[in-house]
Symmetry: C2
Subunit: 218 residues, 2 copies
């Protein structure tokens, strides 16, 4: 089997995965749906006792190729979608990411996060757009998991601050980018397992220095 | 002739170009050397009465392929180099842009600006790094001249503010990105010819909204 066949087999196996939401989590304010079969994602939403304040969905091109109708059904139910630039183009049929985000908005999500890997991430909300750069690194040892780390950092920040305003989502995007910048420094989850709060706080200074400027507005 | 042959012929013709610096410009504080044969760039430096406070150089892969030694000679004389990401990799032999900038620093320039097209631009100065995004646009009509507009906006801002600190260079990079975002909206120089100060001021608000965030540092 080639690697694509292997991926298809693995993802089809995951489609048989029937997650049961524990009772203690059924009233969560923030629901993060990882990149799985859309029908599995939908079943998790349906198990919630009350509609979470914010539902975030991660997905990928495989589901667009193979289960597009199911995917559209779950996309209509969620608030934030995180996908990469190529996937945004595939899902929307638009090359311009601004137009792609507009089309995806019209499919349901109020917020569209487009991940551009080493080129950072964009957050769209109606006419607002925010950009978080990836930190320029001397070496990217292993990019595996960077997108998941970004999504986890984003959702975790919103959950821990109990604030889902656009301003706070900007902070959450920066926090996700911050964590992802560590993920790629070592193999697999190694760097994340040894990460300290001080490291994250110190790197936040680097993100500020990287992007903040002071120029007079007229 | 294919397009590459045409380019080579045109650039060789440009090598015969012998610019004479007018007397009124021989004491300029800021010198911007456009993307030409390095020997032409060097001859302009040599015509200056006094060493400008800041010499900025734009170049490209053609000169790296064909006149590398001359190019290195002029690079050793200048303060700021602006090149794109692929050219930075070619010139330095390093894939990581952080390492590429370090190597290029060691060739002379205190400041290295790496242009990444639709993905923005990076400014390196020793251990400092600043990133200016490109504005996400609905449509890029014609990217021709965006890099030159960026370089002109950058140099023009520094000249008009008579301040070559790193803080002001950050503003200059934003200003260059701002102007370049207009350049691509219409064909050739059309948009630039009709551009108004208010348009630029208004778009600066968009750049602020795009990148500025407020997150507590520890």
């Amino acid at each position: 089997m080639n690697s694509r066949d292997t991926l298809v087999t693995e993802l089809n196996t995951l489609a048989d995965f029937k997650p049961v939401v524990p009772n203690d989590f059924k009233d969560a304010d923030i629901l993060m749906l990882g990149n799985l079969n859309p029908s599995v994602q939908l079943s998790v939403i349906q198990q919630m006792e009350k509609r979470p304040k914010l539902i975030i969905l991660d997905t990928m091109n495989f589901w667009m190729d193979n289960t597009l109708e199911d995917l559209k059904e779950v996309i209509a139910e969620i608030d934030v979608i995180t996908i990469n630039d190529e996937e945004a183009r595939q899902l929307s049929g638009e090359y311009s990411l601004v137009k792609a985000a507009e089309k995806i908005h019209s499919m349901g999500p109020k917020y569209v996060v487009i991940k551009k890997g080493e080129h950072g991430a964009l957050l769209f909300n109606e006419k607002n757009v925010f950009f978080a750069p990836a930190l320029p690194l001397e070496e990217v040892f292993d990019p595996t998991g960077a997108g998941d780390t970004f999504a986890g950092g984003f959702a975790g920040y919103l959950a821990s601050t109990t604030n889902i305003s656009f301003e706070n989502m900007k902070r959450a995007i920066i926090h996700g980018s911050n964590l992802a910048s560590f993920c790629v420094e070592q193999f697999g989850t190694e760097r994340m397992q040894n990460l300290k709060k001080e490291d994250v706080a110190q790197r936040l200074h680097q993100f500020k220095a990287l992007t903040q400027f002071n120029i007079e507005l007229e």
